[in-house]
């Protein structure tokens, strides 16, 4: 028995015969219903365009004022990284690390690695060490938690509402847009197209 034309389900290991998947559709495992493959429309171009926009939004979100806090005339300006700085200064290193990785580090790596993979492919070249880089990218994904951070902001604003005035900054809007754009980039990505480009000898 050869492996040609077969795909094993990640969730139950059943061998499924490869079937053509229509654009925008998905093929599912016959036994457990797990997704075997999603066929994305225009995957490379769309993901590249979205990842490039995400890069711009990421810079804005990290450079400009994020939230300002006004209490009896005193105004405190913060950026996205202020919370991480403060936790670190107060000696909460593990918390500072966790927040940095999930709210800033992982999204940054995600965007840069997407561009690292997609720009050369768009230009018809193979990125150096594509397999290792793309694997890393897929492992980073679950640790990128910006959308959860946004809900955290919402809860914080409610808690501070009695105490002070909160003024949203440009970076906050950019951060919101970044969440949507990066999620769209991930949704547009068809990993199979990337793996098909990797050359190897069995």
């Amino acid at each position: 028995m050869t492996t040609a034309g077969l795909t094993a389900c990640h969730d139950c290991d059943l061998l499924n015969r490869d079937v053509p998947v229509p654009e925008g559709g998905a093929s599912r495992c016959a036994r457990c219903g797990g997704v075997l493959r999603r066929h994305k429309t225009d995957s490379l171009d769309r993901t590249l365009a979205l990842a490039a926009s995400a890069a711009v939004l990421f810079v804005i979100a990290n450079v400009f004022p994020f939230l300002a806090f006004e209490m009896q005339g005193d105004v405190t300006q913060t950026t996205l990284a202020t919370g991480v700085d403060q936790l670190w200064d107060k000696g909460w290193y593990a918390l500072a690390g966790l927040v940095f990785v999930t709210a800033i580090g992982a999204p940054f790596l995600q965007i840069s690695l997407l561009l690292y993979v997609l720009v050369p492919l768009k230009l018809g070249r193979l990125p150096y060490d594509l397999a290792r880089v793309f694997r890393l990218l897929r492992h980073i994904e679950p640790w990128s938690m910006m959308e959860i951070f946004l809900i955290g902001i919402l809860v914080s604003l409610v808690k501070l509402a009695d105490m002070a005035n909160i003024i949203p900054g440009l970076a906050l809007w950019s951060f919101g847009a970044l969440i949507i754009v990066l999620a769209a980039a991930n949704a547009a990505l068809d990993p199979r197209l990337i793996w098909d480009r990797v050359e190897y000898s069995a």
Partner: protein
Amino acid sequence: MTAGVTAMSRSMVSCHDCSLLVHLPAHRLHTQETCPRCHAGLHVRKSNSLARTWALLIAAAVLYVPANLFPIMTVTSLGAVQSDTIMSGVIYLLMHDMWPLALVVFVASVFVPFTKLFVIAYLCISVQRRSAWRTSERTRLYRITEAVGRWSMIDIYVVTILVALVQLGALATIDAQSGAVYFGAVVVLTMFAAESFDPRLLWDASEGRDE
């Protein structure tokens, strides 16, 4: 339900990272092989899946206690110190009539971590008892559990944002407390526990025991 032809039964391994299907002679099926395409380690099943999952799960369950008992932050305002735990944060939102937000925080910070511990333990036990009961549903339960765990991070972020915003020394300060560290550890450990569980074991265990 049909007894399926699995990759393992045909001496094949599916790469966890790139999905390449690799045929290996039987004697190499359980040795250290790497994927020819992406160089990830090839495993017929995730190695030591149950032992690893249990270890992470028990560690998470132990830390779950201080995570909920100890305060996650303190607010010092004009000399008065007020401590907040995970639960008191939810109650605060409820008392301010923010019940949609209270519900979100309750689900993310209380319901999800607690349920996740039990669901993963149940899945492990069901494999060990070679259960063949509703394997499809148990697989779906696993997928959901794996996907929702990260939402428990909300409270960690709330502490971070409050600490960042309220640093006006004299009037009020907010500081993180050890409960937040324990809680963060619980979230990370349960994420790793879900990741180390191999859902294919559910199907191996039910093989030949179809209802």
